[in-house]
């Protein structure tokens, strides 16, 4: 029953029993404590800050913003988690979704189709581009053994260069004196928002259902299919997977393709739901947020959903802190501390449960030995 730190970190080894509840509790408490200390050291009122956060975070409009942010983060984290489950560190999610968003926006702006097909085409294009871009790293690893960490970092930079070239030289139209973007997508290609939360005009992204579907798909793929079993097996032990007949190289490429296709979806809720153009305001850096949230959620689709909501809550709160003259960087500190505490808390919980298990076994053995001893004495 030995497991490596990476196995435990990436959620491939599950905690059982009451420690599985204690670990996240411990993490949250520790993060709150550190935040309180930081707030005190920086001369901010601790209690007031927490009140402000809860007050603001529970307003209807804030809830919508939290959900919308979380939708985007969720897709990003799932894209990262697909790779993690197979021991692939896809740092390139960032470049994959940016390039996918740009190409999809350009295609979506260039064509007009009947309503259901238009957004579907845009989403498919995004998935294809994301998959293709990630696939490069997959093929490089499978055929040449190039570390995906290195290749995806480089592909991120290349994606920025290609994206800027395509936007500035070819596909961009002047949206205003200082803004440039792809031709706006016609209403037939837009996905309107949903008034899910009463008490506010702000709407939840229509593509929240896409995120939910991706989460379910991730769970089913990993746990209910042979492919998922092979993927998890390869992640745990490559030699064992090879021995049981898994074509590891093909799995590497497939995993990267799926991770990339999921990454392609990251920009879609915002693109189809609100901005309708890939302009200079297109949000960058979501791929890295996804890594943190995947770790926070321990690569579990439900865990990631909570991680994404927590992250969204903190991000949305930064404005209200700023308004109340509390440095919004507090939010960044909280996010970092939470990820660290979760990692540490789970590791501690794992070690504790291993020790507890050993004690239990040794007690049993001792008990068995003494019984034997007594029996022997009696004889």
């Amino acid at each position: 029953m030995s497991s490596s730190f990476t196995d435990r970190l990436l959620g491939r080894v599950k905690l059982t029993g009451w420690v599985s509840l204690a670990a996240p509790l411990l993490a949250i408490l520790f993060a709150a404590l550190v935040t309180a200390i930081v707030l005190t050291l920086t001369g901010n009122p601790v209690i007031d800050t927490f009140i402000t956060l809860v007050d603001y975070g529970s307003q209807p409009r804030s809830l919508v913003l939290i959900i919308n942010n979380a939708t985007t983060y969720y897709l990003s984290a799932i894209a990262v988690a697909v790779g993690f489950r197979m021991n692939l560190f896809n740092i390139g999610v960032d470049g994959q979704y940016r390039l996918a968003g740009l190409v999809a926006a350009a295609v979506g702006g260039a064509v007009t189709l009947p309503a259901p097909f238009h957004p579907i085409l845009i989403i498919l294009v995004a998935m294809l581009v994301g998959a293709a871009w990630a696939g490069i790293a997959g093929v490089l690893k499978a055929t040449r053994g190039v570390s995906e960490v290195i290749s995806t970092i480089m592909l991120n930079t290349i994606a920025t260069g290609i994206g800027a070239y395509l936007l500035l030289e070819h596909w961009g139209v002047q949206l205003s004196a200082n803004d440039i973007g792809t031709k706006p997508i016609e209403p037939s290609g837009q996905v309107s928002g949903l008034a899910l939360i009463p008490g506010t005009q702000t709407k939840v992204f229509g593509l929240i259902f896409l995120a939910v579907a991706v989460g379910i798909g991730f769970h089913v793929l990993l746990n209910k299919t042979r492919f998922g079993f092979d993927l998890r097996a390869t992640g745990r032990s490559e030699q064992a997977a090879v021995a049981s007949g898994v074509n590891v190289k093909r799995m590497v490429v497939y995993a990267m393709l799926i991770s990339g296709a999921t990454a392609g979806l990251i920009g879609m809720p915002q693109l189809l739901g609100e901005s309708h153009t890939y302009n200079l305001n297109f949000q960058a850096g979501l791929g890295f947020t996804g890594i943190a949230i995947a770790l926070l959620g321990r690569n579990n689709p439900i865990g990631i959903a909570f991680g994404a909501l927590l992250w969204g809550f903190l991000d949305v709160s930064s404005n209200i802190l700023d308004l109340h003259k509390i440095s919004p960087e507090i939010v960044t500190i909280m996010q970092g501390v939470i990820v660290l505490s979760v990692v540490i808390a789970y590791e501690l919980a794992h070690r504790y449960s291993v020790v507890a298990e050993q004690k239990r076994v040794s007690r049993q053995l001792a008990g068995a030995a003494s019984t034997t001893h007594k029996e022997g004495a009696a004889a």
């Binding site: 007031d48 402000t52 004196a177 579990n300 991000d315 700023d322």
Partner: protein
């Protein structure tokens, strides 16, 4: 599997419970985290305006970038001192969602701040949307002419005209006939700086060598706030033979000045009078700065609000209107001032038309 999932549910619930507990503890004995009342100058000379609460949202970098945002901050500070208005400033985060920009403006408008000023073209769509929701609040946006509405004032600048003047100054001061331009991010706005700079340099010396480099490309906007990148780019230019480098790179400009200092070269600042605002140890390399008077625009707007004479629509701050200019702090370009003022007169009169790209 199931147990682990249950763990997550509990974790989520625990977060909420903990935060609520914290809220309950503090409810009784503390005041709400209300915006701390800004220390208003009670002895203000403009009693009519004393009630105005000005909300201002910065672009990435915020107050302290020694450049674009600081220029807006200077205008705000002046309004606070001279008009006695109350102010609150919010700052944009790097890589934030579009909704965060919108929410920032909405929080200000909702909190009773009027007028609300957005600094930077990134706020364009957000201003248009939020201004429609708050018809009684006056909005201003710097660097954008796309957001339109009866309560939106667009404060735009002719950056290419000011850049032309410092381009001419660079060419006149260059002994090697080789000058450089460092742009923060390759966006249309910064290309205007480049176009003006190149036109100005060539107007003085048609065969001058001009090196140009952008630090990052969209959607990577780190080029406006990364001095290390600015330093590397400028070092490359000085190594390749340039002796004067103009930077339009916001916070990254500090690195350009360092590189100029180390290479024994000269530099030209941007937006603010950077011979005054930059780090004193490198300020002596700055021969002049292209002044983009966001401070004047911001102050004028607030003043027009206090005198109830806000005009909606675009207001162009060009050379003729004194919206852009070059600085003479340090006296390093006193010898070429007559030539620069000659160009200035020709641009203002329309005799020279400066290209925008």
């Amino acid at each position: 599997m199931l147990r682990n999932r249950f763990g997550k549910v509990v974790a989520g619930a625990a977060t909420g419970a903990m935060l609520l507990a914290a809220a309950a503890c503090g409810g009784g004995d503390t005041t709400e985290g209300a915006p701390s009342a800004a220390p208003t100058d009670a002895a203000s000379s403009a009693p009519a305006a004393a009630g105005a609460k000005v909300g201002l949202a910065y672009d990435i970098g915020g107050r302290g970038d020694q450049s674009f945002n600081d220029s807006a901050a200077a205008g705000l500070d002046k309004a606070k001192a001279e008009l006695g208005v109350e102010v609150n400033e919010l700052e944009a985060g790097n890589g934030e969602a579009e909704s965060a920009k919108e929410e920032r403006l909405r929080l200000l408008a909702d909190g009773g701040f009027n007028p609300v000023i957005a600094v930077g073209f990134a706020y364009s769509a957000s201003v248009a949307k939020v201004a429609a929701e708050f018809p009684d609040t006056k909005f201003a946006i710097v660097d954008d002419d796309a957001a339109k509405g009866a309560n939106i004032s667009n404060l735009v600048f002719a950056e290419e005209q000011g850049s032309f003047l410092v381009g001419a100054a660079a060419a006149l001061k260059s002994t090697k006939g080789d000058v450089g331009f460092v742009g923060g991010v390759e966006v249309p706005l910064i290309k205007k700086f480049q176009a003006g700079f190149e036109a100005g340099a060539k107007a003085v010396k048609p065969d001058i060598k001009i090196q140009s480099k952008y630090l990052t490309q969209p959607p990577d906007f780190s080029g406006f706030g990364d001095p290390a990148k600015g330093k590397t780019a400028a070092e490359g230019m000085f190594d390749a033979g340039a002796d004067v480098v103009y930077q339009a790179a916001g916070g990254s400009g500090a690195g350009v000045f360092e590189a100029a200092k180390a290479a024994g070269g000269l530099a030209i600042g941007v937006d603010s009078d950077q011979a005054k605002t930059a780090d004193p140890t490198v300020a002596d390399v700055i021969i002049t700065s292209m002044l983009k008077k966001v401070d004047v625009a911001v102050f004028d707007f607030i003043k027009s609000f206090t005198s109830d004479s806000v005009a909606a629509g675009p207001k162009v701050y060009d050379l003729a209107a004194g919206g852009v200019d070059y600085s003479t702090t340090g006296g390093k370009i006193d010898d070429i001032k007559t030539q620069l003022d000659d160009f200035k007169a020709k641009i203002a009169s329309g005799e020279i038309t400066v290209p925008k790209e």
